[in-house]
Amino acid sequence: MAKALETRRSHLVLVALVVSHLVIISHQVDAGGGVSLLQKTASVVFSPLQRAVAGAIRLVAGGYRGYVALRGVRQENEVLKDRASGLEVELERQRRLAEEAVRLRELLDLQAVLPYSTVAAEVLSRDVTPWFRSVTIGKGSADGIGLNAAVVSPSGVVGRVIGVGPRAARVQLLLDREAGVGALLEKSRVNGVCAGQVGFADQGQSDLVMRYVPALAEVAPGERVLTSGLDGIYPKGLVIGRVRSAGPPSGLFREVIVTPTARFDQLEQVLVMREAVPRPELTESVR
């Protein structure tokens, strides 16, 4: 009897949970997504923990790298073991500092070139589910970051902000299936749209596909692909990648495979635009 009651109770809970989630999901699908109060709250609650874990991981990784280097020196030269190990650790530390300085200098150079106000942000975590491509950064609305803000790195366009909390934001990478950016071939000045490749999540698809390229357009492998600025998110002229190959014409258009220049697996710091790209004013006659 008690077991039957328990079973009935669990079935009722199941129905209630499933129905409430279907309502929540359907509401979002109808509303077109966006950032809810719940997402903002979750960002406030979880980002400190993620920040702490990210800091600890970097600390341990740094120590581990130092240890590996130290062990190599010991094996090679036992006589100079202590001195060499100390030097090796120091060298490694200096090298990391130098690498970080180079990265920051590149960011500063890029920041100076960009015609918009930007803010540098640290990558706190990368996507962990097989279905999406995103990263969490350590700056949010309190730093002037808004929804759809463009995110760039010195090596190329990274993506756009799809969720903002006060102290953290989620960035959709260009590799995501849902991502898209107005693109322009540098030499032929042909416009198109670059998007993440439709592919299996675990196969490491790292190329983009540029669609709506006219079938008659001349596309040379190695040609640079830039942002066109027509999407209203990314400013014109930022590097997206280089043409890897061009597919055969299909009707009026052909697809071009683009290798992105941004190193998505090695992102540590990025620049986020604080201002939206201004849309061109339409004159009355054009309207």
Partner: protein
């Protein structure tokens, strides 16, 4: 006891996924510690708790690591929690091999159900290949079985006078 344990499991899962995303970004995608929390909750505490743990785990994943639509992973994990809990109340799932199979099946189900929901609600989400699907299931099953063993031993030691 069960809620503190579940909440601790979810916090550890969040920390583990954040750490994995930084150390092994590509391989980390194949391991789902939140699923392990849901399966363990279902196995040990029954279907109702499995569903509630699934709700919590799914919402954390949706809010922190999900796509544009929130609630899809929660809905998936609710069904997984229910299925595992229902199976645990009807069958004896205590041996390591049986738990391995349950974890394997739960991981497969998790991916397939999520991809179906994504399709139904028109949420663009990449699909796992067959090799990725089974590789993910095997990895979760191996790591989960080992973790469950350790957790069981610790819990037994904690309740023994």
């Amino acid at each position: 006891m069960k809620w503190p344990l579940t909440i601790a499991g979810l916090v550890v899962a969040l920390a583990a996924q954040t750490a994995l995303s930084l150390v092994l970004p590509r391989e980390g995608r194949l391991f789902d510690p939140f699923l392990l929390v849901v399966v363990y909750s279902g196995l040990v505490f029954g279907e109702t708790h499995g569903m509630l743990a699934g709700t919590a785990a799914g919402w954390i994943q949706d809010l922190q690591f999900g796509g544009a639509v929130t609630g899809l992973q929660a809905l998936t994990k609710i069904l997984i929690g229910f299925a595992v809990g229902a199976a645990a109340t009807r069958f004896l799932i205590a041996a390591t091999t049986t738990r391995f199979l349950v974890l394997f099946a739960a991981t497969l189900l998790d991916a397939l159900v999520f991809e179906r929901f994504a399709l139904v609600f028109e949420v663009p989400a990449s699909e796992l290949s067959l090799a990725g699907l089974f590789g993910r299931a095997a990895l979760n099953a191996v790591l989960g079985s080992a973790l469950f063993q350790i957790l069981d031993a610790r819990l037994r030691r904690a309740v023994q006078p």
